[in-house]
Every structure is written in C-alpha cells, then in structure tokens.
C-alpha cells in the first residue's frame, strides 16, 4: 500500500508494475483492457469472495478494475495498491489485467470520485458495480454514479425492497443483479410460450402466483411477477414461506395451468395441465450474474419496462 495516494502516484505504480512484468517474463505479457470496472464495497465484506468474483469476471471482460473499499470512520484516510492478475493463453503467453485497490474512510468518500475519475481508462466504458444498493443512497457517492455509463447494483440482500427499487428507478442507468438472477426463470417461461398451444392460452391467463422465501417478496420475486404479468391481464399473488428466494411460479387461466417448481440442486419441474416434465435448471453464481450484466450491450429495455411495474407490486 502506498503512503502517498494520488492518481499520478497510482498510475506510476501501475507503469512500474507493467515494466517489471515485462522484464520478468521472457515471452512478454499481453495487457488487455476493454473497460474500467469500479467496484464499491464495504471494508468488512468478504474480501476473498470479491477477489474470486473479479478474477473470474475479468477473464471474460478484460478491464482495469478499481476496487474501492470503504470503512467506517471520521478520519481522513486513503491507501492504495496495484497488482496484475494474469492467466495463460497458450504458447507460453499470458494475458494480464490490472487491479487498483483504494481503501478509504467514510469521511474521505467525497474525495474518492475525483480520484477514480483520474484512474479510468480513457475512451473506454466505465462500469460501476455496487455490492450493496446502499451506495445509491449515499449523497457523497453520487458523483461516482454520474461518471459511470452503467451502474450495477445487487438488491438481492437489501432490507427495504421498496426504497431500493424506487432509488434504482430514480437513478436511470442502474441495472440490478436481482433482475439478472431471474434470467433462468425467464428463459424457461419464455420457452414454454414458444409452444403454440400455450401461447393461445396466454390471453386468458388470470393469475400469476409466485412462491418465495420470507414474509415479503424480494426484488427478484417482484421482477419475475411483473414481467410475467405484463403481457396479460392477470392478477399477481405472492405466497411466502421458508427456503430460497424463488421457489415456484404458477400461471393459471380457464382450462390452463402451467407450473414451474424448483427442484434443487439443478432441476425444474414443469407441469402443464397435470403433465410433468423435468428440465435442467442452473442458478447463476455471483460472478456469472456480473458476467451476464457486463455482457449486456446498452440499456435493458425490458428491465426498464418491468421496474415501475415491480414497484407498483411492492407498493401493494
């Protein structure tokens, strides 16, 4: 960790790092970068888990990663460090990406956006990943969200769902990993309506029931219900209980019943009018969710349409 923390100093450290790497490897290293990914995390968050997520995601989206770890405290505090993460690509060559870690206190947070802005790679997209949606509520963090072309939050573990969803809607270009997490459910539901007979029944659909864990539906359950109900005039019902966030989905209409039930660890039972079929179902891990979101080109129009409907459902 550097004693003096300025963007110039960090960039100099980076330059030195690459020079050293080049000298150390007789075959040279290939430096790859397609965007800047800024990750905001609380200091007490699982550092090893975050490292692993980043290492895996970076192999698919080679980027300059800037990890901002913030700790409680009223003192002025900044520390930084740089490192390269490399992986082999054959022929004794390797690709490396660079990672900058900046640690700061709550009190120093207002100075962080300026620092990060100076460290982004010119002319390439900047993506801000907030491990917790609470960052969206911190006023001193607002310039950071403004500098990113794309902000990704994870509302899955948020306590006040409605407030978070409203904040996401207000922030404009924010994408939510809770929405990304329902892609496998959406994929199976969409595939079911490739069937002409099911498609014919869609206009008569009158109830969408989502079974979820906990007393109240979380963001994922709300998104899924809003998305499923959108092209229909169906009522949405939630059924709380023990277990994981999303457990089953039931679509009903006169003479039509289609139910998807999770069968851990990797199955989904699809029952249509009493006829059951088991399909493979794979829930995405944290790094896979981030990978999917980083691969999205531009604005997610479907999410933008679903979000206000999910908020309306949360408002009851």
């Amino acid at each position: 960790m550097s004693a003096i923390v300025t963007p110039e100093r960090i960039l100099k450290d980076l330059q030195q790092l690459w020079a050293d790497l080049g000298k150390a490897d007789e075959y040279g290293v290939l430096r790859a970068c397609s965007m800047t990914v800024v990750v905001a995390a609380d200091e007490e968050e699982d550092a090893a888990g975050l490292e692993e997520t980043l290492a895996r995601v970076m192999q698919r989206h080679p980027s300059r990663a800037i990890v901002l770890r913030v700790r409680d405290g009223g003192d002025v505090y900044f520390e930084s460090g740089v490192k390269a993460v490399c992986w082999p690509i054959g022929n004794r060559k390797q690709i490396c990406i660079e990672e900058i870690e900046i640690r700061c206190s709550d009190a120093s947070l207002p100075d962080a956006p300026r620092m990060v802005l100076a460290l982004t790679v010119p002319d390439l997209p900047v993506v801000l990943v907030c491990r917790s949606p609470r960052w969206l509520m911190v006023p001193s963090f607002a310039p950071m969200t403004a500098l990113a072309g794309r902000v990704i939050v994870d509302s899955r573990r948020a306590e006040n769902t409605l407030a978070i969803l409203r904040q996401i809607a207000r922030s404009g270009s924010v994408h939510d990993l809770a929405w990304t997490s329902i892609t496998p459910w959406r994929k199976h539901a969409a595939a079911a309506f490739d069937d002409a007979e099911n498609l014919r029944c869609l206009s008569t659909l009158n109830t969408v029931t989502i079974a979820h864990g906990g007393d109240k539906p979380g963001p994922a359950a709300l998104y899924l219900a809003a998305w499923l109900a959108a092209p229909t005039a169906a009522q949405v019902r939630f059924r709380g209980g023990a277990g994981c966030d999303l457990q089953s989905v039931m679509l009903e209409g006169p003479g039509f019943q289609l139910e998807f039930t999770l069968q851990p660890p990797s199955g989904l039972c699809v029952v249509r009018n009493g006829l059951a079929k088991k399909e493979a179902f794979v829930l995405s891990s944290d790094w896979e969710l981030l990978d999917e979101e980083l691969a999205m080109p531009g604005r997610d129009r479907v999410f933008a349409e679903v979000l206000p409907k999910a908020i309306a459902l949360a408002e009851g």
Partner: protein, 505 residues
C-alpha cells in the same frame, strides 16, 4: 391470441433451439469426426443442444452403437478446439448418439430410418435435420431416397444441410439445385459454407455496418485495392484423389472466397434478417464482372506445387502425393483479379489467392487505402513506404489491425508504419465458437443468414466457370511453384501489371 411470444427477449434470453433429430449421412467421414460431432458435443456442453435431441449417424460399415460412440469419443477428444473434454458431458451426450448402418441406395434403409424418426417424434416434435456429409455423388441419391420414403415431410420441420461442392460447374450446380428442390423447398435447404460461420467473417458485418467511421471510406474513392489470401501450409493430406478432381479454384474461390469478398463488398441490408442479408450478398455476387476469354490469361493464375524444402523437411510435390496421378493438371494454387461493376467499386481490383503448401497458414483480407494525395514530408521521410492498410485476420489469431504512418522518435521528420491491433482472443475473454457450432445451431433454429442460397451458388459459378473452362483447356507448365513458397511468379506479375504487390501476411 398474441401472434408472437411476448416473453422473447433477444438481448438477454438466448435463442431457443427446438428439440430435433439430427441424421448425419457419412458418419464415419473426416468431416463428421473432425467437425460435426465435436461441434454438437460443444453445443451440448454449453446446454445449447436441447436434451431431447437425438443424433443418428449413417454409413455402410456395420458397427454397433457402442463402437461408434467409442470412435466418436476418441475423435472428439482429438479434434475439440479451445476446450477441455469433459467425461460427464460426453457420457450424457453419447446416450443420444446412435449408429444406423445402411446402404444409401437401399429403400429398406430409409424405411428403417423412418421408423426410428417416428419413435423420436413425441420428444422432438418430428423435427429432423438431415446432414449430407457424404461424397457429393451421394447427395442426389440420398435426397431422392428421403423423398421416396416420405421423410422430407413430417409432423415437424425437415431440413437438409448440404456441404460443398455445390456442383463441379455451373450446369451441375443447377442440376443439383433442381434435384434438391424436387424434394425439399428452398427455404429448408441449408448450403453450408463454413467460412461464413467464422466469427471474424461475421464480424466484418459488425465492423462495416455498426461503426460510423469506416463505411464512408468503403468505396472506390478511398480504397485502392483489396487482397484476400487463404493460404495453407499443408498439402492435400490424404485427400489427393478428391482434390485432383476439384483444385483450388473450385475448392476455395468458387465458394468460400467469393462469399468472403461478397461480405466485404456488399451493400448494407436494411435489416439484419436472413433474406435481406442474403439478398445483398447475392446482388454483389451478380455484380462481379465475368472475365472474358482474353482477360483470363492476364487476370488469373493457376499453379501447382512441386517439391520443396522447409527448414529441415523435404516436401513432396503434388504429383507425388498419395492418390494423385503423376501427370495431374490440378491447380493447387489459384489467384484471380476480380472487379465489381457497381458505383461503389468500379475500377477497384479485388485480388484473391489461395493455395496449398504455401509459406504459412493464414487467411486474411487486406484493404489497401489510397495514399495521401500529397507527400508533404518528401520521399526521403518514408511517407511512400506505406499507405494505410486495414487487415482483417480470419485465421489464425482472429483480429483486425490498422497500419498508419507515425513519426520516428528523435530529430527530423522520418516516418515509419506502425500498427494498431485488435485481437479477438485478448479483447473478449470468452471462447469463440467454431464455425460448425454456429452453423449447426443456426440450422436447428431455422436461421439461414449464414448459409448460401441457390442464386448465390449459381452467381459465383457464373464468375468462376469461364476461368475453370479456360484452365481446363490451357497447357500449363506444372509444377510452377516450390512447396513452402508464396506461389508462382506469374501471380506477382498479375499484380505488378496494375502497380501492386502481394503483401506478405
């Protein structure tokens, strides 16, 4: 009732491939072992092949399902590209792989096949993809056999994938098309040109039509000429008998390289949909000037490799390859200058060369831009050393590079060409699917964008046929290039006539 599925979300949800039966004719052939089965296995590995899909391999050799699975497992291990072999995935995959021995001229075989297809109907909805991976002489008998047995129509869709060559000349191409269309409607005939399935060739469309800065330069005002090179360092590798019947012109230029040229030169389509994209490609192919007999000698070059030495290896000449006639007149090298008669490209030469036993394996497209109108830095500065050059590398190391001039550091104004490079491998950390993965998945999904159409096949034969006829009659002094070289000297002379030189890729 909604007409289309309102839950489809092309941005995030992958296109669904419906369950189907895949029947591969020529199941013991090289293509099946090297490309088709490894590609299907990769699709299964990535869960892109629905679990209900069943694969039947057909060939004459009477072997059991178990033996066939063993052979294909060994082949997949050997030929799988950029991927590890996973025993568990294979175990699941091979449960859906069956072998159906039979003689393609025997109606009994088609009856047996029909019964097997019927058995799978409940899980596959009756969808069947027939893949002709046999010798070309079997294409028509197989299609006729399928038609006679009523297998070209069924409960679900029935499609046929045809491998090149689509005929050996214009007439036979027309005849093949007519025979195919007697049994299958044109929309269900998928003529595969695996070059179009290559990620980099598809990226040409993205590069040209998704970026605002290149398309304004993409015409006769700014582009001086285009060079397309498809060089192989290997010889005929045991395919001598087949190859001496076809040659480089028919084997590569008539299909792959004219398709690549069409992709480089076509007009943008209004929408990215199969018929629109293919219409534009076809239009471009029809705009290629058909060479007149007097032009063929100066604008085309045929070659055949003789013995040569590369490093410490002595390489045999074509006529000494196994299965090749000692006086074979086959072109193992072909180069041609084409012109496109439209407003965009009038007067711009498109040089195409392809050959076996050349100096290295490389396929690329080089767009040579015009020089700056005035050399203000003077000849001594090096400004004449290189006009801008855009190179699209198709294989190996897919990518794009742009060459431009830069000032040498230090005193004085000396210029030197430098290169800006984009490499697929390092910019996108994901594995690039092989062309056969892409094309097989497209065929199952009913997307024919990357497949060639009857009119495209016939348009490219229109261009190539006069050259082929002329070469068949001419008496060339073969061999005329050494194995391991960059081809015959006449090829350099062909470019020199217009003041150009082949770049060394």
């Amino acid at each position: 009732m909604p007409e289309t599925n309102p839950y489809l979300d092309a941005m995030r949800l992958e296109r669904g491939v419906p369950p189907c039966v895949i029947v591969i004719f020529g199941a013991n052939g090289d293509l099946t072992k090297r490309k088709l089965i490894p590609a299907l296995y990769r699709l299964a590995m990535e869960r892109r092949l629905p679990p209900e899909c069943v694969i039947y391999g057909n060939s004459r050799t009477p072997i059991t399902d178990e033996d066939y699975r063993g052979k294909m497992k060994a082949a997949t291990r050997q030929f799988l590209e950029q991927s590890d072999f996973d025993e568990e995935v294979w175990a699941d995959f091979e449960r859906r792989l069956y072998y159906l021995p039979g003689d393609l001229s025997d109606p009994e075989f088609y009856a047996t096949l029909g019964a097997r297809l019927k058995e799978s109907e409940t899980t596959t909805g009756g969808n069947v993809l027939f893949y002709l991976s046999t010798q070309p002489s079997h294409y028509v008998p197989v299609v006729q056999g399928l038609g006679a047995a009523g297998l070209a129509r069924g409960k679900g869709w029935r499609r046929v994938v045809v491998e090149k060559p689509f005929g050996h000349n214009l007439e036979s191409a027309g005849s093949l098309n007519r025979e195919l269309q007697k049994v299958f409607p044109e929309r269900e005939i998928y003529r595969i040109d695996h070059y179009l399935g290559k990620e980099t060739v598809q990226n040409v469309l993205a590069f040209r039509f998704a970026n605002g800065i290149f398309e304004p330069l993409w015409n006769r005002r700014y582009i001086n000429h285009v060079q397309i090179t498809a060089a192989e360092s290997i010889g005929v590798e045991g395919r001598g008998e087949y190859y001496q019947q076809s040659g480089a012109l028919r084997d590569m230029i008539q299909n792959h390289l004219l398709q690549v040229m069409a992709t480089i030169a076509m007009e943008p389509s209004a929408v990215f949909e199969p018929s629109s994209v293919r219409d534009e490609r076809a239009k471009l192919l029809r705009s290629i000037r058909v060479p007149k007999s007097g032009e063929i000698d100066v604008d085309t070059v045929a070659g055949q490799y003789g013995p040569g030495r590369v490093g410490t290896s002595d390489l045999a000449g074509f006529r000494h390859e196994p299965g090749v006639h000692p006086e074979a007149r086959t072109d193992t090298y072909a180069a041609a200058t084409f012109f496109v008669d439209n407003w965009r490209w009038a007067g711009v030469p498109f040089y195409i060369r392809t050959g076996k036993r050349l100096a290295k394996r490389i396929t690329d497209i080089a767009i040579h831009f015009n020089s700056a109108p005035l050399a203000i830095f003077g000849d001594g500065a090096g400004q004449v050393a290189g006009p801008n050059l855009l190179v699209i590398r198709i294989q190996p190391e897919e990518g794009i590079s742009l060459r431009f001039l830069s000032k040498n550091p230090g005193a004085g104004m000396r210029l030197r060409p430098v290169s800006m490079d984009f490499q697929y491998g390092s910019s996108f950390g994901v594995r690039t699917p092989t062309a056969y993965e892409t094309l097989l998945e497209d065929a199952m999904a009913g997307d024919a964008t990357l497949y060639t159409r009857q009119d495209m096949v016939e348009a490219s034969w229109q261009v190539v046929q006069p050259i082929a006829d002329h070469w068949d009659e001419a008496k060339y002094n073969f061999p005329n290039y050494d194995a391991g070289s960059w081809g015959p000297q006449a090829s350099d002379a062909m470019l020199a006539r217009r003041g150009h030189v082949w770049r060394v890729p």
